[in-house]
Chain length 180, copies 2
């Protein structure tokens, strides 16, 4: 079955600081047309920082779209063309105050593929050493340190809602279990 | 540490079919102000359909923001005020052609909390019986049936990028393992 769509028209409705919004006209496989609303984003990175004692480091921050504090693994936006791993190292240092000896790629994450084009690159970081945090100006973070197993239980109990945090924590746990 | 922000101004830049885009001015904990770009969405639902032989049912579809075919568990948007479980039952029938006897809530998912307000409600569905699929007009889906364990391996090998699919498949697997 042919699933492919074609771009017939492309129009920017908004160009912003973090996201752009496009409203395209697409040609469907059945020859009809449809409107597609697309959020453009440079992409992101997130890191599961795991220390030698099996603890994970996360951060709590106010997330304006939900108007509440959300607990997440350290993460950030990519600058245009930035290497995801370099961005991950930067965010780990800024938000947790840590430097890691080893990085394992945990895969890509598409947050909401129906309308959003963001790709989040996920990493597991081990061999941690600690320095001072260096958050962005106007970034307010509260650190959280918990055992990886507890973080897994929190995901299973619906206590960590962020998608990248759920996926990366569970993947890190299952990969560690498999001894990889 | 106070992390809370306050809404000072609210302005819609776009009101669309699936998403709206707001550009707010927020008051930060340090007394400064910042612009917040927010994608509004009614919310979504997704279902891990697991049959008595341990197979999971997924669908492949063209995802316009990535301009490629993506494999995902069945899912859909909520109508305004719609009960997530009822929406999950509808999507399971429409996309997979299945009815489930048992539903287990797998938690909420925040796809990209920095700018997006969508909440996706996740369910595990068991006790499946099958009827005809009934996809939305202009929805083109290719079904996929694979063992849950294979789906888990695909998540770990970066072969399933969709965030709700990664989180819900791994959660379903870990909960089954714990015998819940």
């Amino acid at each position: 079955m042919n699933l492919e769509e074609k771009q017939l028209k492309k129009e920017y409705m908004y160009k912003g600081k973090i996201i752009n919004l496009r409203r395209d006209e697409a040609l469907l496989p059945n020859g009809k047309t449809a409107i597609r609303e697309i959020v453009e984003h440079n992409g992101g990175v997130c890191v599961v920082p795991l220390d030698d004692d099996g603890n994970v480091y996360m951060v709590q921050q106010f997330r304006y779209p939900y108007f509440k504090v959300v607990t997440e693994i350290p993460a950030g936006k990519l600058e245009k063309g930035e290497d995801p791993l370099e961005a991950g190292k930067r965010e780990l240092k800024e938000e947790v105050g840590a430097i890691a000896q080893n990085y394992v790629f945990l895969g890509e994450l598409y947050p909401s593929p129906g309308y959003c084009g963001e790709i989040i690159h996920m990493y597991l970081a081990t061999g941690l050493s600690f320095c001072d945090t260096d958050p962005d100006e106007d970034e307010f973070l509260e650190p959280v340190k918990i055992p990886l197993k507890t973080a897994v239980d929190m995901v299973l109990k619906n206590e960590l809602a962020d998608s990248k945090t759920q996926a990366a924590i569970l993947k890190a746990y299952l990969l560690m279990e498999k001894g990889e």
